[in-house]
Point group: C2
């Protein structure tokens, strides 16, 4: 009998049975009326989740592909762009922009810090002539959810486009594309939207769309116009799955979904603290996507992640890049209940105890359940 | 009761139940050992199908993305490339290369013609300094399968890389990457490989891989090195599905699969001819991917495709680009049996008769079945 598995990484996330069923329907031709109707509905539903009346484009790509599209469709060779980063995915913006020879002004915070809106505004003014600002909403590598609303308020009026990576945040924490004035928001199927990876999408404001007409960087399959018209074969089954997932999410209601994720984040942090562990993620309600937990000194975090998988069937995330071996990341977005979070905490407790760490036994799950039930933030 | 549907387009193609089941398994983390083992097996199995001992890279993209990767990883700005085309997908190579500012020598044949290897060699010599030659194996827009083996023999020794689009041919008609000396072969999941769209792949020869180290065109998500290391989240469920599809295909055996497709092609052409229709595809065994059939003068091909779908539940392809309204394309690759082909022929006969075309009634299906059964080419 194969072990029962629990997937609590911050993406890919577990796929609900309704989404599996939708993806198992007979294949449709992408140019036929049945698929066109589904794609139109998915774009409309994504607009509701993104809270935008603007265009939504679908890409057969990872989230990174849609990020790259937000660079190559908006910029021309030599353009100056500002990247504000505090982790792996923020730094990816800088890597993409440099790959295309852009003049990158990089406001680089240490991994785990929060972007400071006033400093972004100051660097924007100091640099001058910045064409676009690239930031991350949820920094999946550290657990920090940045205050994009405040960043947008400080970037507004500068003349620079504001582009946001919301790959792991969309559907889990509040994001209001139009109300906050975000020009481009990029996200993907495989996080809070509960669909397998391989489908990404992007909102594009009217101003950004107009700018793409004269943007000079080379592109083909990631061209926004090409994506908008399905110039290449779309990821049909994933679009069908996302349609079902969005029906679930919008049926629940965005506010209810945000509250659900908020409570899961509280539960995970409360459990980790109860057993005496130090949080790497900020202990605040906004950190509702993934909880990063420091592994006690002298313990190898990679071995803990492996032990959780091998002994408890729980797949959590380890540390990436410079945090490799130092943290364990428990994702709680999408089709995740508090029982998955307590299973992950129990597995973590077991793995740490087996490795000789000094953890308080038998308290994490109760603390997590208590924090999850409490309607008011403690 | 919704109508029963038959999908006979040349991609996406019907997905076998074994592939649906594999894609319905619980989601796996792309960095965990279970998925890594599946990805390794898929690359090995693709190597068997591609008949190469070289690297095979997976992309979360449409086939076009992997085509673009074969341009941006191989070329530098201003490089001269030769594109030989005779249809929509051949011309796509030229469009991609021009998007990146390459010096494109375009040997353009009319849609429906076959590439002439000797003329490619002559143009290659005449142009001089050609860095890479881009051709199509199966031209899905016209039904022509080009003689890539003969082209490779004429390009060999020129010093130019040879890149082949085998998106709709791989697994349906013979292609021997290493034996024929093909540097890069690009294909996708959604044609003869019976998996939903959104996953593409590419073989890369040692020489092509070495050239990519100094190729100067900008790229990020389509970078071969990045694809090889899953730098971005791969399309996990599609990789799991492709694994099951490749097990089916290799279990059948490549020669048996080629024979099966050869007989389906014969059946489709025999049926069309029997009812008095003119073939647009060449009437030869190599045309085993998609049969393009001319719509009789005065009849609107788009209306015929629509009528087949609405009255018989059969989704066939229409003409693309300059062939819009002039042909009907019946695909017979992947999870297609002769019963699908006869259903398509019967639907076509019904639609044409209803539109007032002068077609011979009641003979197509019998002719198709006879051609399918005949072990020797008539």
């Amino acid at each position: 009998m194969p072990a029962k598995r629990y997937l609590v990484t911050p993406g890919p996330t577990p796929v609900p049975p309704e989404v599996v069923a939708a993806m198992s329907a007979p294949m449709l031709h992408h140019r036929g009326p049945e698929f066109q109707a589904i794609a139109d509905r998915v774009r409309a539903r994504l607009g509701d989740v993104l809270q935008t009346a603007g265009d939504v484009l679908l890409f057969a790509s990872s989230g990174t592909g849609a990020m790259e599209a937000a660079v190559v469709n908006l910029c021309s060779p030599g353009d100056r762009v500002l990247v504000a980063s505090a982790g792996r995915f923020g730094e990816r913006w800088a890597s993409i922009a440099r790959s295309y020879g852009l003049d990158v002004v990089h406001l680089r915070y240490a991994w785990g810090e929060a972007l400071i809106p006033g400093e972004i505004a100051a660097r924007l003014e100091e640099a001058g002539g910045v064409h676009a600002v690239y930031v991350t909403h949820s920094e999946t590598s550290t657990g920090v959810v940045h205050d994009v609303r405040a960043i947008a308020e400080r970037v507004a009026g500068s003349g620079a486009f504001l582009v946001v990576d919301a790959v792991s945040s969309l559907g889990a924490v509040p994001l209001e594309t139009d109300a906050w004035g975000l020009d481009v928001v990029v996200s993907g199927s495989q996080k809070a939207l509960m669909t397998p990876p391989g489908l990404a999408f992007s909102s594009v404001s009217a101003a950004a769309k107009a700018a793409s007409a004269t943007a000079g960087l080379p592109r083909f399959s990631l061209d926004w116009g090409r994506a908008g018209s399905f110039g290449s074969t779309p990821a049909v089954s994933l679009v069908m799955g996302l349609d079902a997932a969005l029906e679930l999410l919008l049926g629940e209601g965005l506010e209810a979904a945000f509250d659900r994720h908020r409570r899961l984040g509280r539960a995970c942090r409360a459990g980790a603290k109860a057993m005496g562990l130090e949080l790497f993620s900020p202990d605040e309600d906004r950190s509702a996507v993934v909880t990063a937990i420091r592994v006690p000194a002298g313990i190898d975090g990679k071995a803990i992640v492996r032990s959780m998988r091998e002994h408890s069937g729980v797949t959590a995330g380890g540390g990436q890049g410079e945090l490799a071996g130092q943290i364990v990341r428990i994702g709680h977005i999408g089709h995740i209940s508090v029982s998955d979070v307590t299973a992950a905490l129990a597995a973590l407790e077991l793995a740490l105890a087996a490795a000789g760490a000094d953890v308080e036994r038998g308290v994490a799950v109760r603390a997590a359940l208590a924090a999850h039930s409490d309607p008011v933030r403690a």
